[in-house]
């Protein structure tokens, strides 16, 4: 392997992540590994890359809305091919979107739930055109089409069902060559049929799983790998030149405590408010995250992770106030709340949980941490006998517009305890619901004001208790501009 610190990028790189994907289907798994890979091999209608131009066309030549916002038209580039050489037509796009629409519960469950619930029908007027009929305007659609789930797959492959996912095919910059799930090693090589023929340096990617973060870092230092993903904050002080932090990747999302409203203790608004008051967010950041974190811990959902949100004031710790809130609740004289935690998804989660557990002792609340594997947590939550859950929301680009409906999921799904993002709904948060409904159709100029209002309302109702923003850091052997990422999982490669 090349010597350490040589800035020259060869045409083959090795990326080490902490696990291999449980599934390659982004509809089944939203883990970083899966999305990271999907972005490499998957073709999308619009481009996710490079932050600012998110939503710009990729496989699509254009994505345009009708003036009433109720019809979107996607024009495909001509001569598109999948990596296996077969032609990519609008039929494939329709099949791909229908697959998502027909997947049960997606509308309510997934990141893309809001956009999906606003799409009525997808049709293909001709081989190069796709038309989306909307039930309500959704200005963020172009950006939404670049989320990992929106990968375009061959209709014939989709028809094959599960077996397609043994070796999926799409029209991304790379194609999957070997999928060695037993050895935790995937290889990808440049897709010869990629629409963009501009010469690119990297022709081959090895994607390996190295469970232990220290080993990952060690392998990076010794030159075995070129890019190590997901390095815990307290290791970052070991990252010294010539290694570089992929600072673009820092924003790893936000962590909060989801609430089981059916739980007699945690379901009580006063208890939630008390918890929120008793949590010392500065301490969480300092001790659990090794001080490595972006932004301040704030309320709400992705869009208010901006570093400059005015809601920072609401996060101050106040034990006296917290205790006062507990008067008359089940926790007045101490109580126990089961806290479900996932230990194998992000290194931050168990640490934050422990700090919170310790902090809540001050108001007599005993958190009983229950570790659950990532793969089983949804199931576990459905069982119902839990109070709080350390939710970690991955963060997509700062796209205020398209995730408008995110905050307040579709009550029709009836699922108020799901994992992926829709927050639990209960009838007693009418204010929040009304605001959220307004946001779904708001113009982009009206949105920021609405968001502030939502945040205020949110702070009162606390459908979930925000804790902190998270860092999700990759380390590269090359200077920072050579390999970096956008969001948490979109790798930008030379």
């Amino acid at each position: 392997s090349p010597s350490v610190g040589s800035n020259a990028v060869s045409d083959e790189i090795t990326i080490a992540d902490h696990a291999i994907p449980q599934s390659l289907d982004p509809m089944s798994s939203a883990s970083y590994e899966t999305t990271q890979l999907t972005f490499l091999w998957g073709g999308y209608l619009t481009n996710y890359a490079d932050g600012k131009d998110s939503g710009s066309p990729q496989l699509a030549r254009s994505v345009t809305a009708s003036p009433d916002g109720l019809t979107w038209t996607v024009k495909l580039r001509s001569g598109l091919k999948f990596s296996d050489g077969s032609a990519l037509t609008s039929k494939d796009v329709v099949a791909s979107l229908d697959r998502i629409l027909s997947t049960p519960n997606v509308a309510g469950d997934n990141f893309i739930g809001p956009v999906m619930s606003s799409i009525k029908k997808v049709t293909a007027p001709d081989g190069h055109t796709v038309s989306l009929a909307m039930s309500r305007p959704y200005p963020g659609l172009p950006a939404a089409l670049s989320t990992p789930e929106m990968v375009i797959l061959p209709a014939s492959g989709i028809a094959k069902g599960d077996s397609f996912w043994k070796h999926p095919v799409s029209a991304g910059r790379f194609k999957l060559d070997t999928l060695d799930t037993t050895n935790g090693k995937f290889t990808l090589s440049a897709n010869p049929n990629y629409y963009d023929t501009a010469p690119r340096r990297i022709k081959k990617i090895n994607f390996v799983a190295v469970t232990d973060a220290a080993t990952r870092l060690a392998q990076l230092k010794s030159g075995q790998v070129d890019y190590a993903d997901n390095i815990p904050g307290n290791l970052l002080s070991q990252v010294k030149s010539p290694l570089t932090l992929d600072t673009a990747k820092w924003n790893g999302g936000q962590m909060g405590l989801s609430v089981n409203f059916n739980d007699p203790v945690a379901g009580d608004k006063r208890v939630r408010q008390a918890i929120s008051l008793a949590v010392n967010r500065q301490q969480i950041a300092a001790s659990a995250l090794g001080g490595e974190r972006v932004g301040r811990p704030l309320y709400g959902i992705p869009w208010n992770q901006d570093n400059d949100s005015p809601n920072a004031k609401a996060t101050k710790r106040d034990i006296g106030a917290a205790k006062a809130k507990l008067k008359g609740t089940k926790c007045e004289n101490g109580c126990t709340i089961p806290l479900v935690t996932v230990t194998d998804s992000a290194w931050q989660v168990p640490l934050v949980a422990q700090v919170v557990q310790q902090q809540l002792k001050a108001i007599g609340i005993r958190l009983e941490i229950e570790n659950t594997p990532f793969t089983q947590v949804g199931d576990r939550l459905k069982q119902g006998d839990w109070g709080l859950f350390t939710r970690w929301i991955g963060y997509y680009e700062n796209t205020r517009t398209y995730l408008g409906g995110y905050i307040y999921g579709d009550p029709t799904s009836g699922n108020n305890a799901n994992f992926w993002g829709t927050l639990p709904t209960t009838p007693d948060m009418p204010g929040l619901k009304a605001l959220s409904d307004r946001l779904k159709t708001a113009s982009s100029s009206a949105a920021p004001g609405l968001v502030e209002k939502i945040n205020e309302e949110y702070a009162k109702e606390l459908p979930s208790i925000p804790l902190t923003t998270l860092s999700y850091v990759g380390v590269s052997r090359f200077p920072g501009n050579v390999i970096h990422s956008v969001g948490a999982s979109y790798l930008v490669l030379p």
Binding site: S28, A214, A218, Q219, T375, K382, W420
Partner: protein
Amino acid sequence: MSSAVLPGPAARRTGGRAGKRLAAMASPLVQAIVVTLLVMVITFFLIRTLLGDPAVVLIGGNTGASPQRIAALRAELGLDKPLPAQFLDYVAGLLHGDLGNSFQHPTTTVASVVVNGAGVTFALVGVVLLISCVVGIGVGLLAAGGDWPVFDNIIRVFSLIGLAAPGALIGLVLILTAALGGRLFPAGGWGSGYPDNFQYLILPAVTVSFWLTPIILRAVRERAGEVLHEPFAESAAARGMSRTRLMLRHVAPNCAGPVLAIIGVSLSYLISGAVIVEIVYGLPGIGRAMTTAVGSLDFPVIQGIVLLTGAVVVVLNLIIEIATRVIDPRAAR
């Protein structure tokens, strides 16, 4: 009882000596088969009663799939049948040499997963055994045979530490020192072909050997010490046999029994130790396959792995037993 209760030579020669010996060899074989079957049966029922529903996990417990879809998947995986029926299916498959397919990756056969992982793990175990036996026996003999109290004490201290230190800790310290500081060996990972792969095996093997070597070393030292004080060794020494010759010709073979016995007893611990270390070093052995399989409730894979490791342990024990008998026919009593 009296010392003279020995079978007379005449008694041995009469009767089918070869037949008896065959029978004596066959009975461990039968036992080994029974044990392997037991392992299979226990595993089958244990995982199915202990662990949850693979269908839910497979579909992605997190996406909230409909009960119908889960039921369909259960039927597809054959999990809807009653346990005994499932067991019969499994056994029928086994009889055809078919371990089934992975739940998680339906086109992957369990055999390929297991063989793949086992290749790595048993290569690791093999290297560990090699290192431990060479170092353990060598140093053990030196410590027992040489008259160097200081050396002996150093060895004692080292073996105590090796014995008591947790493998994972040693592994990580090794990674951080040998691999990073000295850049001698890769800090983990796995290559693509064999001579190349050995360099990835060295550190993990050393890590596990840290535990096994002291055990062998101590046994050898103890046994060798005893043998050296046995009258035959003393009189050989008194007749003028050199120390080296005595150690090699007489003491070493007499240590073989305890060493073999220890290896036999340690095998399953050894494999478990290897699994932990594999995970630390990121080797694609059965350890990784197994943690993944348990996490995703991939029953056929769990079963295949347990069956394979169980069978390997049993077969190795069988070989050890036969070897012990060949080395020391008294063991066959």
